[in-house]
């Protein structure tokens, strides 16, 4: 088993495991976000739970951050190796005849999603960390000295989606995420060695997932923009 991460297949396996983990995370994330569309109270309570639960904050959050960084860094390592495997390009190459654009441009779509993550972290995560762990306010209240003021999460979410520029960036980023997932979902299963009639039956589901999850994120951003 030693040195598995030094092999091409081992690296792809690790890449796929981190991808599957992140795909499960996306379902959880969009589920919580979607509650903001129909219940301010439920969204606030779930956000407060996720933001203050020691297991989520102390274990799940670091694992998630490591997962994202690992997925990105491994993607770059694999791409660098792939680029070096062909030093002279073809004068004529019609790759579109044998493969999809999304499958050939995972780095491009991935980098755009990563750039968006930077904005996303700045928007929400940095702010949350500052309030909770720098300022020491774990109350989650709009006014920490007034228990009647209510939780701040919903209002902060609404505030972020006032700007049409930010909503536009969200839409573009999630369209790119959908393209990334359209190849990544099936590719992850192939990389862990799962390509049989059962996995192939997931083909339809993979398209629903890959388009549906980003579409929900887009819907949430657009909904709050137009109902603010």
């Amino acid at each position: 088993m030693s040195g598995i991460l030094n092999s091409s297949i081992g690296r792809k396996f690790a890449m796929a495991l981190s991808a599957l983990f992140l795909m499960i995370f996306l379902v959880m994330h969009v589920s919580i976000n979607f509650t903001s569309v129909f219940s301010e109270e439920l969204f606030n309570e779930m956000s407060h739970f996720m933001g203050t639960n020691p297991l989520v904050q102390g274990l799940m959050q670091p694992i998630l951050i490591i997962g994202v960084i690992f997925h990105f860094v491994m993607g770059i390592i694999l791409e660098a190796k792939n680029k070096s495997s062909r030093s002279i390009k073809y004068a004529s190459n019609t790759a579109s005849d044998n493969s999809t654009w999304v499958s050939r441009n995972m780095l491009l779509t991935g980098v755009v999603v990563l750039a968006f993550l930077g904005l996303h972290m700045y928007d929400f995560w940095v702010h949350e960390m500052t309030v909770k762990y720098v300022e020491g306010d774990m109350s989650g209240l709009i006014d920490p000295n007034n228990a009647e003021s209510g939780f701040r999460y919903y209002e902060e979410l609404r505030e972020k989606f006032v700007s049409p520029v930010r909503v536009g960036i969200y839409v573009v980023a999630f369209v790119l995420l959908a393209l990334h997932l359209l190849h990544g979902f099936n590719s992850a299963f192939q990389s862990i060695g799962a390509n049989n009639k059962y996995v192939r039956s997931l083909n339809g589901f993979s398209k629903v997932y890959s388009i549906g999850i980003p579409a929900l994120f887009i819907f949430i951003a657009v909904y709050h923009h137009f109902t603010h």
């Binding site: 091409s8 792939n82 073809y90 790759a95 192939q190 390509n195």
Partner: protein
């Protein structure tokens, strides 16, 4: 009859920089094979006192895997499930410009013109693409070992790989996963292949990595361009075999 413009990669030897050279060619019959068209060109070049274009070929019936031409941006040309030697000029139109290039991969260095060195495939095979048979006289008749029909068929399908390298040439990463997975699968699916299964997959993948082939990103280009239609299922099977072998140690 067709008149064509050929844009062919010319490279004197492994150290030469190489370049695309234009060759107009006339009176090409649509019934000619692609390699016969190159034979005509070479005859003309020889008659003019020029160096003929070097290209690999042997059986000219799609079974040896020797011919290896990247034609108009695709391995073995515009048709599917055939080798370059099975391609005919009726696949082109009068007045066409045709690019003819060698396989491009760090692990397939150009020797001359359109001929590349594919001995990296040989070394991968030598690392484990075989079954060691004790020929002491006690060898069991292979036909006496029952094998499920489905496995026998899949093993046979994998064994039809002719090792031409179109998978590597087509892959944007120059990955050899389809070739290696076919060679692993043809044994992994049979009881005779089980004894050396762990060492086989570990050694062949290590050799593949050492040769400088890229990583598989599952674009599926290799499967589309493979003249024998080797399935991506083989890559998934090799991934399983490799992961299980790695955890076993």
């Amino acid at each position: 009859m067709m008149n064509l413009t050929l844009k062919i990669w010319r490279q004197k030897d492994a150290n030469d920089k190489g370049k695309i050279v234009d060759y107009p060619i006339s009176n090409i019959s649509p019934d000619m094979s692609f390699l016969e068209m190159l034979d005509v060109l070479n005859q003309e070049l020889i008659e003019k006192g020029e160096q003929p274009v070097a290209f690999d070929h042997d059986c000219r019936e799609g079974i040896c895997g020797t011919c290896s031409l990247y034609i108009n941006g695709r391995a073995h040309g515009p048709e599917t499930k055939i080798t370059a030697c099975q391609l005919h000029m009726r696949s082109f139109k009068d007045g066409d410009t045709i690019y003819i290039e060698p396989w491009r991969a760090k692990a397939f260095p150009v020797i001359k013109d359109l001929i590349v060195d594919r001995t990296s495939f040989d070394r991968i095979q030598q690392a484990g693409g075989f079954i060691s048979v004790n020929t002491s006289g006690n060898t069991q008749d292979a036909n006496a070992i029952p094998i499920e029909k489905e496995n026998a068929d899949k093993a046979f399908d994998a064994a039809t790989c002719i090792g031409c390298g179109a998978c590597v040439a087509s892959c944007k990463n120059s990955s050899a996963m389809l070739f290696v997975s076919a060679k692993v699968s043809q044994f992994a699916l049979l009881p005779q292949g089980q004894v050396e299964a762990t060492d086989r997959v570990l050694n062949m993948v290590k050799q593949m990595d050492d040769e400088g082939f890229g990583n598989c990103t599952n674009t599926g280009a290799c499967e589309v361009e493979c003249p024998k239609g080797i399935s991506l299922e083989n890559i998934a099977r090799m991934n399983r075999e490799y992961l299980v072998a790695s955890f076993k140690g």
